[in-house]
Structure formats: C-alpha cells, structure tokens
C-alpha cells in the first residue's frame, strides 16, 4: 500500500496527520493501560487480592474509560468526515480496529473481575486462592504513568463497599457495552479491507527476560531426570510382576 506523500499537501492533510498522530498516541496508551489492567485482573481472587488491588483496578479502569471516550470522539468524528483523504482514512481504520479490539479485551476483563468478585469475596480472606503470588503494585503505576502510587494502608473493609463496587462496575461495563454498540452503528469499518503494517512476528525486545526463562526451564528439568529413571524402574517392576 503506497504511503501518501504528506509533504505535498495542503493544510487539510497536515492537520489530518496531526489528528492521526494524536489518535495513534491515544490508542497506544489505551493498549498499554488495557495490558496493565489484564495483569491486575489476573490477581483478583488470589492471595494478593486486597483493597489496594481493587483501588488500583478502579483507577486503571477509570483511566482506560477516559482514554476510550477520547479516542471514540476523535476517531468517530474523523471517520465520519467524508473529506478525509484515502491514505489517512486507512490509517484511521487501522486505529479503529485496534481501538475496538482494546475495548473488547477491556470489556471481558471487567466482566471477569466482576464475576470473580462475586465468587471469591474480599471480606472472607480465607477463601482467597493461594496462587503463589506476592503482589503487583508496580503494574498499576505503569498503567497510570505515575512513578509510584500512594499506598493508602487501609486494613478494614468498609461495609457495603463490595456491593457498591459491584454496582459501579456493572454501570461501567454497560457503558463500555454501549460504546461498542454505538461505534458499530455510527461508523462502518470494513474489517476485511484493513491491512496491518507490522510484521507477523513481534521482534524480541532487548533485555530479554532470561532470568525467569531460566527459572522456568529449570523447573521442567529438575523433575525430568528423576522421573525418567523412575519410569524405567516401574516398567521393569511391572514386567517382573507379569
């Protein structure tokens, strides 16, 4: 797909470029926030679940929703603009697809968190599943782009907080629901026409996580050599019995 030569253009394309760049930046940060939300959500119901985690979830969620609202306005207004040049339209549609996928991920994660908080209650700390985790506060900091979070130490669970949280969450989920529906109604993006730019394989990021990779592979190998002889011994034993 040939790129539009943006230098030969009028103000329209220049501002369109800016709009595109803005949109891209917004979508990128939404992707980041959604990724962080997923990590936080994976801790819900586990032994690291706490008021703090719920706060972080809430803050991340709010940020995601604000971003989503902004992107929605931005992209809808541009895509409904019929005078948008073709090249930019394609880019916008790409952003649109990324945005709707983000929203879908966020929606599912929010629903799951709501569901889990129904099954495993924070108030009953014995029922929090022992998953072997220790905590993930830095993830929230990344999501909110803050150097660190002000950890408010609250030990007691205020009464009625959980039910209040549930109703807020349900509201928010239905909001996202409606946003997705609205989007589909207002702008018709033909998904089969959208072509991505990037490669099939994500490039390995530098400073790979070699330490934890090593831990995991040792995990496997630790038992493997011992299990092999055991198997053979049990085979022999069985043969002897027969």
């Amino acid at each position: 797909m040939p790129l539009v030569n943006n230098k030969v253009g009028d103000d329209c394309t220049a501002s369109g470029d800016k709009a595109l760049a803005d949109g891209k930046a917004l979508v990128d940060s939404l992707i980041k926030v959604v990724a962080c939300y997923r990590h936080l959500a994976s801790c819900v119901g586990g032994c690291t679940d706490s008021l703090q985690l719920r706060n972080e979830l809430r803050q991340t969620r709010e940020k995601a929703q604000n971003l989503a609202g902004d992107i929605c306005h931005h992209l809808t207004s541009h895509l409904r603009d019929k005078s948008l040049p073709d090249g930019q339209r394609k880019e916008m549609e790409l952003l649109w697809v990324a945005f709707s996928s983000c929203l879908e991920l966020l929606h599912v994660d929010m629903c799951k968190v709501l569901n889990i908080s129904g099954i495993v209650s924070l108030a009953d700390s014995a029922s929090l599943v022992h998953t072997g985790l220790e905590g993930c506060s830095d993830v929230a900091a990344r999501a909110l782009s803050l150097p660190d979070l002000n950890q408010a130490q609250t030990d007691s669970l205020p009464a009625g907080l959980e039910s209040q949280e549930r109703s807020t969450m349900e509201l928010e989920i239905s909001q996202i629901d409606r946003m997705i529906d609205d989007m589909e109604m207002k702008v018709n993006v033909l998904r089969w026409m959208v072509e991505p730019h990037g490669p099939q394989y994500a490039d390995p990021l530098s400073s790979t996580d070699s330490a934890s990779m090593a831990l995991q592979s040792i995990d496997e190998e630790q038992q493997a050599p011992t299990s092999q002889p055991l198997c053979q011994r049990s085979h022999i034993f069985v043969l002897l019995l027969l």
Binding site: G45, E104, V108, E184, S212
Partner: protein
Amino acid sequence: MTIRNALRDHGQRYRPRMACLKKAEKVLLEMQDPCTGVKSQPQRLVITIIPHAITGEDIIAWLADRFQIDAQEARSFGSMLVALGYIYPLQDHKRLVIKPDASLYRFQTPYFWPTQQWPVEDTDYAIYLAKRNIRKKGILELHEQEQYNHLHKWMNHKWDFVVMQAKEQYRAAKERKKPDRVVFDCQERAYWVVHRPPPGTVSAMDYGLDRRTDPNTDEVTGESPHDLLVKYSATYSGHDPFLSKCLPSNPWLTDDTTYWTLNMSNVEIPTKMRVERWTFSFKELLSDPRGRDDFRLFLKKEFSGENLAFWEGCEDLKWGTAVAMREKAEQIYKTFLARGAPRWINIDGKTMEITVKGLKHPHRYVLDAAQTHIYMLMKKDSYGRYLKSPVFKETLKKAICPEEHKFKNRRPSLSPIIIRQQEQEQRAKMAANAPVDITQVMSKLSKQGKEMGPRHSK
C-alpha cells in the same frame, strides 16, 4: 449478572456440560483454605522460593477424606480438576493428570478459571503466542506455530493490535517481581494447555455443540430440566401403563380389549384416570378428544365457545393440506376476525393488526400469533373456571373406575413340560407291554404323535 453482551458473544452463550464448573469452584475454594484445605509447601527454584505448591498425593488424600471415597476415585476426581484447569501441574505441564506422588501442583488464579459465560478468544491466544515469541524467538511448538500462522491469516486486520498488545503485556509483566513473573507465566501457560490442547490430546473443555437456549433452566419458568423431569415423573407415574397397573388390564397381556373400548375418543362416560389427566395441564385437556368435548360443552354454557372453535380452526389450517389453505384462512377470517364477524374473538389490537396483514398472503402459520393469544387466554382464564365448573364436576362424578381384570376365563394351555412328561409316561408304558416287532412300535409311536399334534397348537 444481567449484562447481556449478545454482540460479543455471537449467541454462543450456553455451554451445557459446564454446569459442573460451579461445583468444581466450590470444591477448589475448600481445598485451598489455609486451615482445612490441602497443606501447601514452598517450591524451591534455584534461589527463589515460591509458596503454595501442593503435592499430588496430598490432593488425593484430601479428596478421599473430604468426600469419603477411595483413592482411585479421588485420583480420577483430582485429574478432572486438573483437566478443567483449576489446578495445574508444575512439572510435566502438558499432561493434565494428578500423579499420586510428590509431583507439585498449584492452584490456578480465578482469572484463568474456566467459565461458562465467555468463550475463550482467539485474539487472546494470538497475543499469548506473540508474547512467547517475543521472549524467545522460535520457542513455539509445531502446532502452536501452525495456529499462529492460521490466526495471522484470518485475524490479519487486527494483527498490529495483537503484536502491540503482546509487547505491552510483556512490558507490564516486567514490572512485577521475578517470582511473580514466573508464577504468572506458569498460570498462563497452564490456561492455554487446557483451552488449546496440543494435537492428539483430549480436552476436558470439549462440550459438544453450543446451544441456543440454556438447558440449565427453563426459559419461561426458570426451573431446571432436572426439576421438570422429576415433577413430570411424579405426576405421570400413576398413569404410565408400564410403571403401574392399567385398569382394567393391559390388552397386550390379557387379550382383553376393554381398556381400549373404555378409552375411545367418543365414549360417553370417561374413566376416572382419564379425567384426572385433564387436571394436569391445559394441554392434556385439549389433546384428549373427550376432554376437549367436555371443555367445549363448558364453554358453550359460558358463551365463549368461539375461542375454542378458533383454536381448532387454526390447528386445522396448520395441519391441513396446502390446497385448502387459502380457503380455510379466508373462512376463518370471515367467521372470527372480521369486524362484525358472527363469532368474533377478542384479541388485542397489535395481534389483530399483524394477523390481518399476514392474511393478505396466507400461509400455514399466519394465524400463529392469534392462536397463541387465544390459547393463553383459554389456559389462564377458562381452564381454571372449567375445573371448578358443574360440567366438570358432573363428568368426574359419572366417571367410571373399571375393576381389575380377573383371570377366570383364561384358556388353559398345556405346558410343554407336562406334555413331555406325558410322552415319557406313554413310552414307559409301551416299553412295559411292548410288541416284539419294531415297526409296530414305530407305527404306534407315530400314531400317538399325530394324535398329540393338534393339542400342541393353540
């Protein structure tokens, strides 16, 4: 949760065999209780210690104790929990079974528990595979590689998003502490072994086809099919000709056709059992011709006979020949639906509008809406009054309860044992006073055989 996300779900909401998931969750929450659950130990990995590892033998012992079952069954149960994805093995992660030894397992975080409401998305799988590839290029196994290529093809439009999201999730993971990172990776890996099993393995998440309605509840009344079945069996067990006695007798057993004669459709006086069946449901009443007659009589007295007549007309249209359809529809319209019709039925304006519009191009089911409306009207209103009416009470009083068949006219048939005994006696007697000639003996025997012959057949 009342949030309906039909758009995202694509109508694939109901995965029926997963009703056991709720029960498995309860068991799991009990198992991980720090006081009464399975005892956990820390897992040592080089220099890190990760808590909350449990051994296979402990799991099996706990299950056997909790449910009072033997070790074999506990092992199967444990394997089921692993296969569903509630517990994952730390070593040999691709084999989802419980080994009754010191192999280690860990509880899966609730986020990765199998759920009934949300299907496992291919987008997530693509992101996961992309993430694995970021960590170490070429680590994907053959089937994963194939899946990745396949997803790249059909999910091509969101591939940029997939790659970006994978990168971001990877970066977010780096923010976590090292042991937590390892645990999360194990959790995610275990999740995908359950939901995208390697080829050649059977997945516990295989539930057959998706359903359009929730088989766990009756959409209208909210009862489970289990309850409905129990209710049905309890109500009808007395009326079942196999489970209980058929009065007077089952014609297939006694050759006595009184039962059929007494229960014919145009019989004047019905049996008590039959009348009792009419009280079970409105459908029973209508489907029994004698019951319908009784109901018709009642409605005549109430001057609302047109409802039943209309309903019968609709049935006739539905089940009748295609040739006669147009005529029948017109007839019904003239008789029941037109303004000032002789037997005008009372249906609401909306239904009337739809029906009249549909009658312009009549087909078999054009009167369905109106028929349903009238049916519900009769069911909710007239049926109740019928059951309390003098007509019904009269019928009930007159209903007969036939006596049980007495087996006095049973035709005696010779038992083959007796016949054989008689033959043997005959032979013994002949042997005693046997003629010398063998041919005479044979002829005598054959004669007797012929005599016996007619008596054998009944």
